[in-house]
Amino acid sequence: MKTEEIAVAREDTRESVTFGADRNKDFSKEPLCLSGRGVTRVFHTGKTTTVAVDHVDFDFHHGELISIVGESGSGKTTLSKMLLGLLEPTEGQIFFHGQPRDISTNAKKKEYWKGIQAIFQDPFSSYNVFHKIDSVLLDCINMRGGKSLPREKKVEMMTEACSFVNLKFAELTNKYPFELSGGQMQRLMIARIFLLKPDILLADEPTSMIDACSRATILDMLLNLRNETGMTVIFITHDIGLAYYISDSVYIMEHGKFVESGKADKVILEPQAPYTKRLISDVPKIHEPWDLSTVDLTAGN
């Protein structure tokens, strides 16, 4: 049962992240994939009203890798649920491929979810522990309309998806997801996306539960996925350094609002909003000094 005891698949040999695509590509010329105008979500609990997401506008272009950066409580999780269609905005409109999104019926939801998929933060709670790995992957093939394919073809597709994330399908059959390590489970999630091939992938802190030294592998695979399929990737994170490293555009979120957005280089190296400035200055750095002398311990007292 222990993950260490079952070294299922020999891990990858790829060790460094390869960008492939031009890092400074201008995505604003690309068609819009997902956008929103005045998207708002209000929660009512008893008599208190919480505005989790407050009139946000966004434009995610085709093939772009966007990071939404925010600290806990900034509303990024609520926003991600709205983007996924698990929650409806209380106000505002989300546009999918330029058309207003309509997910009012189950059939329409099903159709929408063919276009957008997700990877969540905690690999250990992302799997139904009663389902084997095969059935997780088979389910994806069935969802893409491959139900009637012959068994050999399905196995071939699953093997391809697993080898994309450097896992060996032959060693995974008849295993349960919890027999894998956290990193392997998260890679299996990417294999799932590889099979589903949605237009948009929403990755909600996919590396925050993973050790830093396995992180590079996951990031590498996400980038590969984007480069090979032209998928739009929305990366949600609290780690501004990570966001800067992988994304084309960055949206900084505070208290349910986007306080700053733009090309990664511009937002991180020349921040304009006070919140962004503070956020960047408060993160410990390596080459630049981390100035503790400016910290006012009595602030907020």
Partner: protein, 425 residues
């Protein structure tokens, strides 16, 4: 799954509970094949204490064997001299000692061990003539003296030649046989003899047979009540927890109503209004089940709410699975172990609820089948607890009820230990 099952049977608590319960269940299933007696058949009148009952008539009709038991006479003497006689003997000896001062009463009492010494002392001191002359205090009247005379004859007579004549029939057909002190019959050769390990109840019904049947019926009641309660609670909990919204509010409103009204009072009222004639076993069980689903529903609901927000449920939604499929494949397996545990407790509390209600006289109608609660009720009605002191009519019932709920609870805690890692040591 296999390893979970193995873990379950490695839990000592579960194992002990399981063994106790299995023994009870096996007894219920197998007993009727060995003793196919109608559990409600009356065998006699009133409480008979546990033991083997042999027909005297048939014993006399059975060919005797000659058996010489070494202590036979002493035992007979012991049996024929009850404590009251021994007390009279000691009183006489004391009176004589006070008058004449020549009786050594040391080491004399009513116990069986000192009976020999007492008889010896009696023989050396009792003299009919002397008693008539001396008029010892307490033994001065004729009647008292005759009493002593009878006692003396009893003591001496039992050791004399033990012969008894038995006459069967009347007039010319009369047959007289002689029964010797050393004549024995074999119990199995006597045409009519019965062993009643737990005696009989007030109606003269064999308590053990009745108890086994009652245990079976009570288990069925518990099973039906537990199943109904668990299914109801599970359905309500799943719907309220997963669907949420107005459905949750409505269902929880109903559940709250059930919570505020004390369950037992509700049960009594329902039972009373149904009326005894309509109260069959199934009806009783259904009513118990329908009033005890609330807490299963509440805890299933809270578990479902925490599961609902797990990522695998979200992913299942994103995969376009239907509500029914999500509930059955992504939620239900996670709470299955919990539901099994709740079911076990519901069975246990169903059995207890039946016992409580029946004890109060609100149980199933009494003509067809016994239940554990009914047995207690009968024992109570006919004074087994008090006047008759017939412990066998109620104590085994209490023990069985205790054992059933003990074993079920033990299984439950054992399962809890296996399924809930925080309880593991």
């Amino acid at each position: 799954m296999k390893s979970t099952l193995r873990n379950v049977f490695h839990s000592p608590r579960f194992l002990v509970g399981f063994i106790i319960f299995s023994i009870i269940l096996l007894t219920v299933l197998i007993y009727p094949y060995f003793i196919p007696r109608d559990p409600l058949q009356s065998l006699g009148k009133g409480f008979l204490s546990p033991g083997t009952y042999v027909s005297v008539y048939d014993a006399n009709n059975t060919d005797p064997y000659r058996v010489e038991l070494p202590e036979a006479d002493a035992k007979r003497l012991e049996a024929s001299l009850p404590a009251s006689d021994r007390v009279t003997m000691i009183e006489f000896l004391t009176a004589k000692n006070e008058a004449k001062g020549d009786v050594d009463l040391t080491g004399i009492d009513v116990s069986d061990e000192n009976l020999d010494a007492l008889i010896e002392l009696w023989r050396s001191n009792y003299d009919e003539q002397d008693v008539r002359k001396s008029k010892y205090p307490g033994f001065s009247t004729m009647a008292q003296r005759n009493g002593l005379k009878r006692l003396d004859r009893k003591i001496n007579g039992s050791s004399a030649g033990l012969v008894m004549t038995v006459t069967r029939g009347e007039g010319e057909d009369a047959v007289t046989t002689t029964v010797n002190g050393s004549d024995y019959v074999k119990v199995s050769e006597v045409s009519n003899a019965i062993t009643l390990p737990l005696g009989t109840d007030n109606f003269g019904r064999d308590t053990l047979t009745e108890l086994v049947k009652a245990t079976g019926v009570s288990l069925i009641i518990g099973l039906i009540a537990g199943t109904v309660a668990t299914l109801l609670g599970l359905t309500v909990g799943l719907l309220a927890g997963y669907v949420g919204g107005w459905l949750d509010d409505t269902l929880m409103f109903i559940a709250n109503l059930f919570t505020v009204i004390p369950g037992f009072v509700l049960l009594i009222l329902i039972y009373f209004s149904i009326g005894q004639a309509a109260r069959g076993i199934t009806t009783c069980a259904l009513v118990i089940g329908c009033t005890s689903w609330v807490w299963t529903a509440r805890s299933v609901r809270s578990q479902v709410i925490s599961l609902r927000n797990r990522d695998h449920v979200n992913l299942s939604k994103l995969s376009g699975h239907s509500l029914f499929r999500i509930i059955t494949t992504d939620i239900l397996p996670y709470i299955a172990s919990y539901v099994v545990m709740a079911f076990i407790l519901q069975v246990s509390s169903g059995i207890l609820a039946e016992a409580q209600l029946s004890l109060l006289g609100l149980g199933p109608r009494t003509t067809e089948l016994p239940t554990l609660g009914l047995m207690m009720n009968w024992a109570k009605l006919f004074g087994a607890y008090t006047s008759s002191n017939a412990w066998w009519a109620y104590f085994p019932v209490i023990l069985v009820i205790a054992l059933i709920s003990f074993s079920l609870n033990l299984m439950n805690t054992g399962l809890d230990q296996v399924f809930n890692p925080t309880l593991r040591d």
